[in-house]
Amino acid sequence: MKPVRLLEGTAVPLERSDVDTDQIIPSDWLKRVERTGFGRGLFSEWRDDQEFVLNRPEYFGATMLVAGPRFGTGSSREHAVWALMDYGFTAIIAPSFGDIFRNNASKQGLVIVELGITDVESLWTLVKADPSLLVVVDVERLCVEVPSAGWERTFTLDSMTRERLLNGWDDISLTLLREDEISSYEATSDAPTLQGLFDQDGHVVLPH
């Protein structure tokens, strides 16, 4: 993962709540075995509608998505994060998020900015009035700004996620530093395993 400190770009208002991951990336896109190329599938059903906000030329090239409450609920598909990032988004700003989506985003370096609904609404108003406004998300200081409008809000991020973003750390390497602890946990655990339960072809070995 690349370090993420300061994000700057224009923003697109997605004035909908409950944008679930089935909408973000419909299931026909989940058949791919690659991790790239999902941007074309982003909101693919909605993008058939010429009026859909992502199709409006004034928002082309936006890198921040400003959405309504409960963004990214539903299916655990990380493809939703890959699609948003592949399309070019670097941060999602919304009043609340699905738990798994938030986790997935943090693993990939997609920045999740949680703001109150009134702040999200005021940001919608600003970017609708002027889609070319520069929006800045500062992971170091944990704030979002629209400098030309003198608009600034802070947000919270748990300290670990923030550190990981700032340093570009990947979770697996961090966890593997705890190899000894994992091994000593395993030595004391008596939780059942699948050892000896199935033969080579997956048939149940009896008697167990």
Partner: protein
């Protein structure tokens, strides 16, 4: 030690490390894998030259993509086929037990874990699938993860996790006749809302829950995620133990009884404190279905389609308007008058033997309406075999239902079982999102008995409507 909730017991027993200011590193006892959310994770392992730490704690099955046509039919969609082949290759390379399409143990990942008895009380279980919450019915802490986390668990058998909060949802009183586990969980989701469970692990309690079979409890825990909660739990009781006795994954004889004695500790201590408590009165519940495009948009079968004006909240009014437009419904319409095109009985919510028995009982001696296509998709080959031993397939076929091979099927339409644009479906699955069952398709979530009755009547109906 002070009184602990069930969640706290399982969590505490799985803590590898809890460094201050960082998420807890949690040990994972069982990792279930399927073809859709794993290829990129295995790729990640290969790229960084890592292996699967515990193949003996990892189990894979093909479910999302598999066609439900007879097994002699090839997988025609080349991209689906590629994904299924990738699973074969990855399991082979990394030494993981796999149940490929057609294997006697193959089925929907959340159906096979419990039926094989590898889902056991007190375990931590993860899978790259949000309905992993299903396994919580066995007092296992089970939750869905994304692909990066799948890779993390494959490599380390552990997962950094923020400790969730605890919620008790207690269903008091007795559910009226005809009210099924599906109706209970639709009521729970409607009560909490789609985000109400976010950040919580829910423990389901009360007589209306403990009176349920394991199948019913799985239906409830399955849809925890629809209320935003990543996990649901039901305490161990004799129903849990009786279900597990004799399953392939558990020992037999004295060894089983010994383990069962340990399992009996997996319940919340009396006096344990939950962060939030919600109570629902079972006596007030009726057979229900969803009318809209999120699973909290629930209406009674006896009811009428709601109007945006029913809501004070502006946001809710907008959501309702959009949902009505997508679903092609007008406010005030009586639910029973709405015709359906397709009925789908299946998915990890309602495709177990008990679900099929309940549906077959309604179907017996009746016939699917001429205008309806009705599919029955058993959750696994084991379910299918058992149903066939009981003659349920014959009942369904005689009544004009299709009897298909197991898989996720029309629950998410990654295989050829999809709705056409505008088609209306009564579905026993768990998500009624726009396009979930096929582009432009309209999904109504129902119980297996309402699904079967609806197939026969050609419009939403209860078993009583059929029998009378």
């Amino acid at each position: 030690m002070s009184a602990q909730t069930l969640f706290e017991k399982i969590w505490d027993q799985h803590v590898i490390a809890s460094p201050s200011g960082e998420p807890t590193l949690l040990y994972i006892d069982l990792h279930l894998v399927h073809e859709v959310t794993s290829p990129q994770a295995f790729d990640g392992l290969r790229l960084s030259n890592r292996s699967v730490r515990r193949p003996d704690r990892t189990l894979a099955t093909a479910d999302h993509n598999v066609p439900t046509d007879p097994l002699s039919t090839p997988v025609n969609d080349p991209i689906s086929r590629r994904q299924l082949e990738a699973l074969d290759e990855n399991c082979e390379e990394f030494g993981i037990t796999l149940f490929p399409r057609g294997h006697e143990n193959q089925g929907i990942v959340h159906v096979i874990g419990p039926e094989l008895g590898v889902t056991q009380p007190g375990m931590t279980i993860v899978c790259g699938d949000s309905h992993t919450s299903t396994h919580g019915a066995f007092a296992a802490l089970a939750f869905g993860i994304g692909t990066s986390e799948v890779e993390h668990v494959l490599a380390t058998q552990s997962l950094p996790q923020q400790r969730p909060k605890t919620m008790a949802v207690t269903i008091v009183g007795e559910a009226p006749p005809g009210v099924t586990a599906k109706d209970l969980v639709l009521a729970i989701v409607a009560t909490l809302g789609t985000g109400g469970g976010a950040g919580y692990v829910i423990e389901y309690r009360g007589d209306a829950i403990t009176n349920l079979s394991m199948e019913g409890r799985m239906t409830i825990c399955n849809m925890s995620i629809e209320a935003g909660a990543r996990a649901g739990l039901v305490a161990v009781d004799e129903t849990t133990i009786d279900y597990l006795r004799g399953r392939p994954g558990v020992p037999s004889g004295a060894a089983f009884e010994e383990r069962a004695q340990h399992w009996r500790t997996y319940l919340s201590d009396s006096g344990a404190i939950f962060d939030r408590e919600v109570t629902i009165d079972a006596a007030a519940l009726t057979p229900s279905l969803t009318w809209g495009t999120n699973p909290a948009q629930v209406v009674a079968l006896d009811g009428v389609i709601p109007s945006p004006d029913d809501f004070d909240d502006v946001d809710q009014r907008g959501v309702t308007e959009r949902a009505l437009a997508y679903m092609g419904l007008t406010p005030g319409l009586s639910v029973r008058s709405i015709p359906v095109d397709v009925v789908f009985i299946g998915s990890c919510t309602n495709s177990r033997i008990e679900d099929l028995r309940a549906a077959a009982q309604v179907a017996r001696g009746n016939h699917v309406a001429a205008s309806v296509r009705a599919l029955v998709v058993p959750g696994s080959h084991r379910v299918k075999r058992q149903a066939e031993e009981e003659g349920l397939d014959k009942i369904f076929l005689a009544a004009g239902f299709e009897w298909r091979e197991p898989g996720c099927s029309m629950c998410l339409g990654m295989n050829p079982d999809q709705l056409l644009p505008g088609q209306r479906c009564a579905s026993t699955s768990n998500r009624n999102f726009e396009g979930r069952q096929g582009r432009g398709g309209r999904t109504h979530l129902v119980s297996p008995t309402v699904a079967a009755a609806t197939a026969i009547m050609g419009r939403f109906a209860s078993p009583n409507d059929v029998l009378s």
